[in-house]
Amino acid sequence: MAASFKDARFNDVRPGKVIAWTLLFLGGVVMVTPLLFMLSTSLKPASDVYDLRLIPARPTLENYLAVFEDGRFPGWILNSLFIATVVTLSNVFFDSLVGYTLAKFKFRGRYLVFIAILSTLMIPTEMLVIPWYIMARDFGWLDSYWGIMFPGMMTAFGTFLMKQFFETVPDDFLEAARIDGLNEFQIWWRIAMPLVTPALSALAIFTFLGNWTAFIWPLIVTTSAELYTLPVGLSSFSVEQAIRWELIMTGASIATLPTLVIFIVLQRFIVRGVVKAGLKG
């Protein structure tokens, strides 16, 4: 019955494909293993944390109970959710507004403004943290929501991304709208924005995930535990008595859920957005 194994799928197996699949599989393993260990550790009692078996010998949900009984944890989730949402909305609005202006309006110094914005991409966060801190201190924003959010309310990357996308929108649409009687703001909001939804989704997802997982700046700018974001809160499990890996991993597992949900819901937009960026950017 060997012939029955000659399925159509196996007929066009080529060496190139085998290599590609192998590499992809290895890459997948490298990506997924830490996540599996995170999940596995969250299901182990504290005494088994250094037992590196993937399937817990004595699976338990007590870590999850402990994390929620701690009381601060739901607050951290809400903080992260609030901050990531506000920053995302702000980015979607302002990045696209500036990107649109740079893409579609001809004015003196336009190129210079664009280069200036773009050049900030070359400065790493670690270097910006000090001026941000001085700014937050001088304005009295330390240990506040605004203090956590202000550096990310608009990003050079988002502006650049949106500018590139708006450049692909034909001017005819905007001119037709101008003749139809829309003002410039309405043209942007009602005509141009709906035409770049893939880019907007991609920007929203990147921004949300970036802020959901942001660690250094929220850690520096906050001092009171009520203002901690999830990653900062989780890290506090490691400083009090000892490193409580099982609790950190439990918190991290829970923190992964919203990102997973967002990704599954918006995946087609991400892929479309990235594909379009690849073709037309």
């Binding site: 037709a176 101008r178 003749i179 139809d180 829309l182 709906p194």
Partner: protein
């Protein structure tokens, strides 16, 4: 409805060359005017200045008697149809048409009524809920026209609206637009580089070149009495035959000696403003130049002979390309009498059908 008047309109981009070099044009109320010319002649720029999408460098633009130089597009009460339709992909047909009423201040019900009326007029009623992506090119163009019409504007501006359609659809839309204009009677300015569109649709054609108007006239005017070689070549399909020659005295009249030893061509019309013995270009429309069947005694005709190089049978007629003493000429013959390639034939044209141009200035020398 309104008149459109352009007075010495100039468009200059920065320090670069002037795109439109001071044009004067007056479009009457309800008139269908076509701006035609090769690409880069300034026709689209002129249209965009009328629309308010480009600033006017100098000159005066009036729509309905009102100076509109400084007015925003929306304040000019005009509607424009673009080359690539520019219908919004995220809205359905009904919303797209209704978008033209955005600034109308009508209530929802009145808007819906207008949308339905417009859609009915354009045969778009069954498509009102469709998205542009689900429409054919012709349907999209109709939606674009619908969006322009719904507002009942003072004037329609069309910027090469048919150039993205295939030949058959183009002919059909041409007819539809013309019919629509006859029905609505709205002042229309239409830009195209296609002389057939210009000839078939226009009340008057404006021929432009290098940012200037060369000639304004009815389609027949331009065909019969082109002011220069450019217009003569541009209007009419197939293109006019032009042969080099020299103007000379012959008896009491004038004649042209064709270069390369062709026949002497008597000039019956009055010739203005050129030195005798000057180099000229003699022209005949291919439809005036018919293949000689030898039957008619053609005393009043010019005869040219040559070898058939290409034959294009079109059904109702056949175009015959002839190599006549080094010059290529095109003549026409009835659909059924198709000469063979390589055959020597003679063609004749009535003496009155001759066009004459000064070779140096390219201006017409006879008034027909």
């Amino acid at each position: 409805m309104a008149t459109i008047e352009l007075q010495n309109i100039v468009k200059r981009y920065g320090k670069a060359a002037t795109t439109v070099q001071g044009i004067d044009l007056s479009v009457a109320d309800g008139e269908f005017v076509v701006l035609v010319g090769p690409s880069g002649c300034g026709k689209s720029t002129t249209l965009r200045m009328i629309a308010g999408l480009e600033d006017i460098t100098s000159g005066t633009l009036r729509i309905g008697g009102r100076i509109v130089n400084e007015l925003e597009p929306k304040e000019r009460n005009i509607a424009m149809v673009f080359q690539n339709y520019a219908i919004y992909p995220h809205m359905n047909v009904g919303q797209n048409i209704g978008f033209g009423l955005h600034a109308s201040g009508l209530d929802k019900e009145a808007k819906q009524k207008r949308i339905r009326e417009t859609a009915a007029l354009l045969g778009l009623e069954p498509l009102l809920d469709r998205r542009p992506a689900q429409l054919s090119g012709g349907q999209r163009q109709r939606v674009a026209i619908g969006r322009a019409m719904v507002r009942d504007p003072a004037a329609f501006l069309f910027d090469e609206p048919l150039s993205n359609l295939d030949a058959q659809l183009r002919a059909q839309m041409r007819l539809e637009i013309k019919r629509l204009h006859q029905r609505l009677g709205t002042t229309t300015v239409f830009v195209t580089h296609d002389q057939i569109e210009a000839m078939t649709m226009a009340d008057r054609i404006v021929v432009m070149r290098d940012g200037r108007i060369l000639q304004v006239g009815t389609p027949l005017d331009l065909y019969e009495r082109p002011v220069d070689i450019f217009t003569a070549r541009f209007i009419g399909s197939p293109t006019i035959n032009l042969l080099p020659g020299r103007l000379s005295h012959h008896g009491d009249g004038l004649a042209v000696e064709l270069d390369g030893g062709g026949p002497r061509v008597p000039v019956l019309q009055a010739v203005q403003g050129t030195a005798k013995d000057a180099p000229v270009m003699v022209g005949w429309r291919p439809h005036d130049l018919v293949v000689d069947d030898g039957a008619a005694a053609a005393a009043e005709a010019v005869r040219l002979t040559g070898e058939v190089s290409v034959v294009e049978p079109l059904g109702s007629e056949t175009l015959v390309h002839i190599d006549a003493g080094g010059s290529q000429i095109v003549a026409s013959t009835g659909g059924k009498a198709i000469p063979k390639v390589g055959e020597r034939i003679s063609v004749r044209a009535p003496l009155q059908s001759l066009y004459l141009f000064d070779t140096a200035t390219e201006r017409a020398l006879v008034s027909r």
